[in-house]
Symmetry: D2
Subunit: 456 residues, 4 copies
């Protein structure tokens, strides 16, 4: 289902669908059916009533706008929903109507419905993260020897490899994936507490019914209701925020590398992708832009979610009522960022030649540090520093290479031999532990990917 | 139009409508028509083309989901929108098709469309704020002599009047209304800059066309395009945040006063309003709850908007793309808070008797400060403090009134006469400047309301 | 060390100390000493140089303000710090001076210093959380049979036990403690990457030196530098946010229960604690207030931290530079909230008698749900609902008990016998699974506490 | 006074000083002296007592750490402060001691002290904004004819002038300056309400004393106390957020323009400014980086401030207690951003030659839109679009200029004459309304600057 126009660059279609009226309604119906079945299993509700409720729920045509119209007056959408559903059940089996929603409170429905939607979203996001991880691992391998400028504080710096850069992105995504899995598995639990969170109206059967409900819905069973203890959801919101931050960082790097003056990478193109209404030659980095846009939204949304976690007593006035749209936006932004960066990674054009030429264009200035190390042992750090300052000035002023300039300075040539100076600007000789770091990042990722596959 | 279920307690129906697909589409169409007309007026586009575009726009049936489907690939909804609309125009007048969207860039459309939606929202919000201001002024007058407990750090404190309390709410709402009016009037301007914000393709006519466009749309005309200068929108977002904070404060006070143990006020009831699915006796403070829920969302949403204001160069990658859903949520939350508090104020039940009895229930402990003032001049502040500590302890231990306890302490009766002690617990005698403050707050409000009505 | 006045109710003294100038300076010195020692172990730096650096670092008197003065011009405090320290080393051993800070970049120092400070903070916070958990477990046991009003949307609801309430607070704190432990253990790693994150100037020894450095500092060793991958710190920030939210919730509940009209709990008093400058009788809930104040700050601080995670390339311009004060405030707020709630819990006065009398004061209105369950089986849900509406109205109008009112309604007495009605308002008979939930929450906590102790 | 190390790149020294212990203490002393004087003027306190209090306050040596130590237990720093000050007064004039802090509550002191600090900060920030505005106006004038690439979505776009770019920065700063002035003038008011905000203990003199206090402190006089109505402070926080966002945007543009591959601008250098500990050749954009870092912090800080505006009743538990450190950080970040961008602007190196050569380097691709306009009238928009797509592909593939490529396409040369094609890539011919926009932005600014100077 396509998103609303207002959200059309803030979510993928699949995630728009997860939070659509049909989805929300269907999740609320699922709760009521599962509750009736669970209560029938435990013997609190007649089996016939549960069957009747299930039958009605399956064929009932409920118009979401009938619920929406009453939500504000009622204070939540569950009250009108239950009322309408009860009317449907009553029409078909009046005895069963009394057993609908038995022992539950509105928030039991809205919380469990949210959890059911989150579970659907989890799979969509996980899939895109997997695609992204695979693509980044491949890119990293392909470009393990592709040297490029390092860049610090937006200025040229000693070289790195694109393989390391991609592996570093991957490392961050991988750590966030694990945190997100943990957060989802903590949060995907049913809510059932009744009016005050004691399930008083279910007598001694509260715990058994909660467990049965969890089984019906294939969700976890919490040790107690959590109406005003929102830490598990808040933690999930946070993990989305951290992941999206890392995806935004990746998007930032790509928009920077794709700049017209740099052109080291380009996002995938194709019909209608990243075009400009006025400039036919453009290939805009739309995927990265979407990840950055998601990151912009997400930091504040996490703040909003956290500020709603201070909730009063057994059920709050204003806390949980703030959550639905915030959580939906958070999940949609996160999922969009993951999908966008997956697509970008899978189709990324990498221009290794341009990477090298941009590096060479600095005329060795980025090897000044290396020259320092070469000169320091014999002439001392401070003298070396002065020599380099002079040399760097000349590199800039004369547009010549650092090695060349140094080769003409007697204080240098008296200390180091010519071959060392010739070597100075070979980037491959000045990559330090880049490859070790890269393989560590990849092997860690690989192990975890394997472990992940075995487990579930 | 009722809101989506996921947003159904996060917006009013009218504000859901403002940001609906139809509204967004209609605002984008309005921009293109107005642009063509403006360009025809200035002579850049043939009058016939403008007429043709207008005619097509009026009768074109564009399916929002056709736009949404392409938005992510394109990077914004305007590119597919213009493509679809151009096809429609071409079908009717192929020459005119070339003049559609002439000189504009996608962001010109999306920004101006947003501004048009904001203008619709402004009126809805303003109306509810006016209702709220009138209701609060009335309440304040009615209860100018209604004494009640002051409460500080959630503890009983010397008395105030409910009239002052309502006037203080009103003062804050009134200040925020003025700020919001200013923010809207700054922000309600057209956007027209073309590809790089110079309107290069319009030659010398850029300024004239911008002004004509502004006239067509009854919006302001900015001194220059503002594609990456979002301070006016950010300021509007902030003013929403500040207002909603004040409405949340009012909501908090009402939920506190409506507590079962306090019951000094009650929200309006009525069929389906604030009921509980399990507790038929309840009259939940749903309006206040909605304002509080809005306040919870809004602080983070403002943070999100601000974090998106750091935008690159002439048009940004990720900044403005983050704005639509954030601004829509902000406006909807603000409008909901205003509407909810207006409804609550108009129907608020105030129990002046209970207010007095809650005050009396403290047995004079809240007048300890007053007793201090009575005793200090003669016995000195430190001695008076010690006497009061003893007396207060006895009030609590013996469940007797402070005046009574003091009347039995010789060190007290030797200093002050009986009538002063009898007077001690009369709340009307210990209200200080409450009534002055109240009238100042109201007169200020009244003046501004008049001023506001004269001006526009 | 006491906090600055501006922060004096935003941090504990111990945590103010963690982020004091002395602590920051000492952490930076520790890094440079450990780096020299690690490099000496690997053979990259002469052992004598490392010894000289260590000796100078131990006795050097560096004035923090000499560093601060230059920080802004330099862009970070490390550049002036290294310059000053190098001068000290040079004065004592000019050869060693050249080996100071060998291969490191400024951010290596600032990040590792931050991590060292976080490690100190971890222990302080963990201790207060343990105190809090023990106190809550004790309270929960003591009050497992203490019935009190449930409260939903700030209105009276069916009863709960204070034991369950405390156990629910404990459950949330416990879950957050575990998340926080995980977050700390992920984040407590050294940073060493050199100019571009490749440790180029250390040749093949980068990995070995990083590991040796980690050993020296008793920190973890990351698979690669993380200059612009801040997810581990962001996750730590988030876990602080989630924990503080739960502490704020606990604070909110306590301020509500301590209200003058409710007085079910009181915070510990004592000389100078929670007094009022004008009202000698007051015992303000200052600990809860501090937790709430921390929660107010923390949601936005987490948002700020997340918005800084989008960092450019190998080292960012503006991202990590934003972090120090945000992280310090976050940790201090979190630690203050934990310390405050620990103190509050350890000294909390609980008035079980008042709890029961507040419950009785509702005259059975909170048992309406129970009456529904009693009546529904025989008279049907809808008829029962109507009966209860009538009865509840009479309870309020006549100030009589629900059971009493029901006992006079023939449609009721014809259906249920007298003893059932007498039983109706006995709270102990309507607690559902409260005790099961409570013991589940406590046993989970106990297991985890044991597991935690075994593992270190 | 230099900042603490932890804040040393988060504030200027002058603003660190504004929030130092000495400043806070001195502001609190000022309040107590001014209150005593005001009360003496109105006749509520003996003149001699006021004189004694003033004399003691002038010479009292109060150790801030004596206050800090007690702040947490008391719940705020004012209670221990008043206690210590009262002891000092008592030692010198025991009668006067009783009149110290007469009628005031702790929050009266802390709020008014905060306002006094904000007033000092206002002048510091205003000065740096003025410097920035002057520098930007000068740059804009100097570079009104300096053409450069427009850049949209981080890709090359039709040209702009650097003069317009600087004027657009200036426009945003100027609008924010005005908003900030308004916000400060609203917020710089005294707080005086006593225990419950009625000034009950001052009898009928409350209003008169408030006005006299305002006069003494040269602050505004509010219509009523505002203990729990924080909209004026919140609005000030917001205006800081919006301004800093605009300064961050300017910083972002400068870091992008200063990239090694682009080098169109450079920040001022100089001893110790923007150096790198490992790369002697670097001139890091430290000023822009500091503005960006401030912008990163500020969005969340504003969110935090807003989330604290929901305050209970007459004085809140947790709301205002959250404000001091948040407001201090906000003001310091804002002031740092303003100071940094002022310094950057005053010393900015602009390389007009490089700007032109970067533009030429695109080989006319950025003039594709212009070519469209040239070709559309004769060949129709769609045909022109196809021609341009082909031509642009050839520009990229063959590395030749667009004009050159087009000049070889018969379908083009049959439509437009050679001179028009020669003209195609002259940037001066394709600037549209750039200069009009620039002068509008500047004249608006100039008027307001004049108006501003006349007024105060």
């Amino acid at each position: 289902m396509p998103a609303r126009l207002i959200d059309s660059i803030a979510t993928t279609g699949a995630l728009a669908d997860v939070f659509s009226d049909d989805s929300v309604l269907s999740a609320m119906l699922k709760f009521e059916v599962a509750l009736a079945r669970a209560e029938a299993r435990v013997g609190v509700v007649p089996a016939a009533a549960a069957t009747a409720i299930e039958a009605v729920a399956k064929k009932a045509r409920i118009d979401p706008s009938d619920i929406s119209k009453e939500s504000l007056r009622a204070g939540n959408p569950v009250i009108p929903f239950v009322k309408i559903l009860r009317d449907h059940v009553r029409a078909s089996d009046s005895a069963a109507a009394g057993f609908l929603h038995w022992g539950a409170t509105s928030q039991d429905v809205s919380d469990t419905a949210l959890v059911l939607l989150l579970k659907r979203a989890q799979h969509l996001i996980a899939e895109d993260i997997s695609r992204l991880e695979r693509a980044l691992a491949r890119i990293s391998e392909q470009h393990k020897n592709t040297v490029m400028l390092g860049r610090t504080l937006m200025q040229a710096a000693p070289p790195v490899t694109f393989g390391l850069k991609a592996a570093s992105w991957l490392g961050a995504v991988n750590r966030s994936r694990k945190r997100l899995e943990g957060a989802f598995s903590e949060a995907l639990i049913v809510q059932l507490g009744g009016a005050s969170g004691t399930l008083a109206s279910l007598g001694d059967h509260g715990v058994a019914i909660t467990c049965a409900l969890a089984e019906e819905l294939r969700l976890g069973c919490p040790e107690a209701p959590w109406h005003t203890h929102r830490d598990r959801l808040a933690n999930l919101a946070c993990c989305c925020g951290v992941l999206t931050g890392s995806l935004g960082k990746m998007g930032r790097d790509i928009t920077l590398l794709a700049q017209s003056e740099i052109e080291e990478v380009a996002e995938p193109g194709g019909e209608g992708r990243g075009g400009s209404s006025t400039m036919p030659h453009k290939r805009n980095p739309v995927g990265s832009m979407e990840a950055l846009s998601a990151a912009n939204r997400v930091s504040g949304l996490v703040g909003a979610f956290l500020s709603a976690t201070v909730q009063e007593h057994e059920r709050a006035a204003g806390g949980w009522q703030a959550e639905w749209p915030i959580m939906a936006s958070l999940i949609q932004s996160t999922g969009l960022a993951a999908a966008s960066m997956a697509e970008v990674s899978e189709g990324l054009t990498v221009d290794a030649t341009r990477m090298r030429s941009n590096l060479e264009h600095t005329k060795g200035a980025v090897f000044a540090e290396r020259a320092m190390i070469l000169l320091s042992p014999t002439m001392g750090r401070d003298a070396a520093h002065r020599v380099l300052e002079t040399a760097t000035r000349n590199v800039i002023a004369q547009g010549r290479h650092l090695a060349e300039v140094l080769a003409e300075m007697p204080e240098v040539t008296s200390q180091v031999d010519e071959s060392a100076l010739r070597d100075l600007e070979v980037p491959e000789r000045y990559l330090g532990s880049a490859e070790s770091f890269r393989t560590h990042l990849l092997s860690l990722t690989a192990q975890q990917t394997r472990a992940y596959k075995k487990e579930p």
